[in-house]
Every structure is written in structure tokens, then in C-alpha cells.
Amino acid sequence: MTYSDWLRADRLPHIYCAGCGNGTVINCTLNAVDRMGWKKEETVFVSGIGCSSRAPGYIVTDSLHTTHGRALAFATGIKMANPDLHVVVFTGDGDLAAIGGNHFIHSCRRNIDLTVVCMNNQIYGMTGGQGSPTTPRGALSTTTPYGSQEPAFDLCELATAAGANFVSRWTSYHVKELTRSIHQGLGVPGFSFIEALVQCPTNYGRRNKFRQVMDQVEYFKTHGILVQKAHRLRDEGLPIPPDAILLGDMVMRDRPAMGVKR
């Protein structure tokens, strides 16, 4: 079996813009799920509202497209009602960090056995490019036309502080590493959070000097540094570049988890 068996071929091509990184993250997630050897009847994909949240519509398994920001609340319900199901949540940055922020930190605190894949495109892509809580400082959007003045959320730090069992961050350029991390997260009992930075050529890249799709992917490639390297630089007293994107597995621990398969 390959990942393409999990896709609904009759629904493709999907509605994402040309070059949108969400499709890449779907490939990586389905590859990881396929590698786990799970049955399609025992896997559920849950999502909220947004570009990223259209992903379960292209997957053959049971899925739930829920209200804005409440994907984790619905996923908690599924997992509590039937702990034998494998629940994977697709969510975006506006869905998870903005309107669903409280659901996110409390799911991390309860440490429910879910795998959350957050496609962070650093903007509200679907509604027209408004600034989101993860828009970097200085980035242009339709609601921050002179550059965002607010510091951005670091979702991995947030999940770590709130108590998730597995936290990892990769980008849509690092497909092999992202697949490996999602595979590891699916196997971990407890809350696994994988943040995937994706390019949004239509609403983010176009306003922020990434005119071509490849420009933003090249940016991820050149500015991503491994978290181990960042720690080494810090220990040696060397400066970490201010625009560096820390990548890698941040946390792997064994806190008591809820809703683990009996």
C-alpha cells in the first residue's frame, strides 16, 4: 500500500492554489499513517476551518469538518467515546493558535492521545490574508499594511510549556524529516504536536517579497537550523541568527496520557 491509496482520487485535483504547501503536508501525513499500518476503518481525520482544514475531504477515511478552532474539542470527544480509534487532527495556525488557543493548551495539559499536524502558513490564507498570531514581526498582511508590530506565537514552545508529550517542527521543504517526525508522533501515546511551516504564495509570499513559490521554499531551506545546533551555539555563547527557524524534535517525554488505546 502507498499513500495514494488513502486519497480520494475522484476529489482531486484539490482546490489549493498552485504551489500551496498544504498538499505536501497531506502527502507526508498519509505516508506516515500508511507506514503505521493502520486500518482505514479505525482512523479518523478531524479538522476545523481554513485552507488546511479542507485536507480530510480528500482522504478516504472517516473524517469530521468541525467549527472554527474547535477541532481539538471534537477530536477529544471522539477519542473519549472510542479510545480504539486513531485520531489525527489537521489544523492551521489561525484555527489552532487564534480562535482555538484555549482548546489547544488544554488538550496539551490533558495530554490526550491525539496527533495534531498544524500547517502554519503564518497568515489567514482563506479569508484574504489577514495577520494571524503567528505572522512574524515586520511581515505585511492586509491588516498589517505597515508590517506586523506584534511578536509572533511560537507554537512549539507553547505546546511544550502546556505539557504535550511530543513536539516537533519542520517545514514543507523537509519532507523526509517531516514524515519521520509524524510517524514518530503517531506512535507516541499522549498528545503529539507537529508544526509544519508551509508556503502561502497567494496571500503571504506575494506581499512579503517571495514572488515565486520557490522563493519561500528556498527561504525555509536556507534559514532553518536544527534545534540541536541552536543549543550548541547558545552553549558556546555564539549568536543565533534572529531570523532562524528552529527545526527538529523539541520534546519527547512520557507524561501520564489520557485516552490511550487499551
Binding site: T2, S4, L7, L12, P13, H14, Y16, C17, A18, G19, C20, G21, N22, G23, T24, I26, N27, C28, N31, S172, Y173, V175, K176, T179, P201, V213, M214, V217, E218
Partner: protein
């Protein structure tokens, strides 16, 4: 195995041209019937997965298929007896 781009799914983002270690993909010039400029393949028989997938029994490399946001890249089995092109690199 043969490397193919599904023209019904490709949206012409050219991300495959970024990742292929053999530089098999290059940006196309002519728009197809849907108005999309699909990348062109330069000697696809050089692809490691085309040559060695049957020998190893698993997908090798596969970066282009993984990064393709439109699930347009795949490998198809050749029909028995179909003429195969072989590339030798010095």
C-alpha cells in the same frame, strides 16, 4: 518503472524542479489545454527510482512525489515487451 506527471492534476508550481537531485524536471514553456505550464522531463530514465525500485522493493528517493502539492507525480509499470530507453552517464 516510468516517471510520469499527471497533467490533469499538475498546477505548474515547479517545486519538483527544486528538489530532484538529477535535475530531471525543468520549467516548461508551452501551456497545455488547461492553460497550465507543466514541467518537462529531461531523460527521465535517469531517475533512481525508475531504475532500482524493483531491485530494492521499496521507493528510493521519491522527493518529487513527496513535495508535489498536487499529487501529480507517480511511477507507472511498463507493459511487458515495451521498448525501454537506457541512459548511461560517464
Amino acid at each position: 518503472m516510468r516517471l510520469v506527471i499527471d497533467e490533469r492534476r499538475c498546477k505548474g508550481c515547479n517545486l519538483c524542479t527544486l528538489v530532484c537531485p538529477y535535475r530531471i524536471f525543468s520549467a516548461g514553456k508551452q501551456p497545455n489545454a488547461r492553460g497550465i505550464v507543466v514541467p518537462v522531463l529531461d531523460r527521465p530514465e535517469r531517475c533512481a527510482n525508475c531504475r532500482l525500485q524493483a531491485l530494492y522493493g521499496r521507493t528510493l528517493c521519491g522527493m518529487c512525489q513527496m513535495i508535489c502539492p498536487d499529487q501529480a507525480i507517480s511511477w507507472v509499470e511498463e507493459k511487458p515487451g515495451e521498448a525501454q530507453k537506457v541512459a548511461i552517464e560517464f
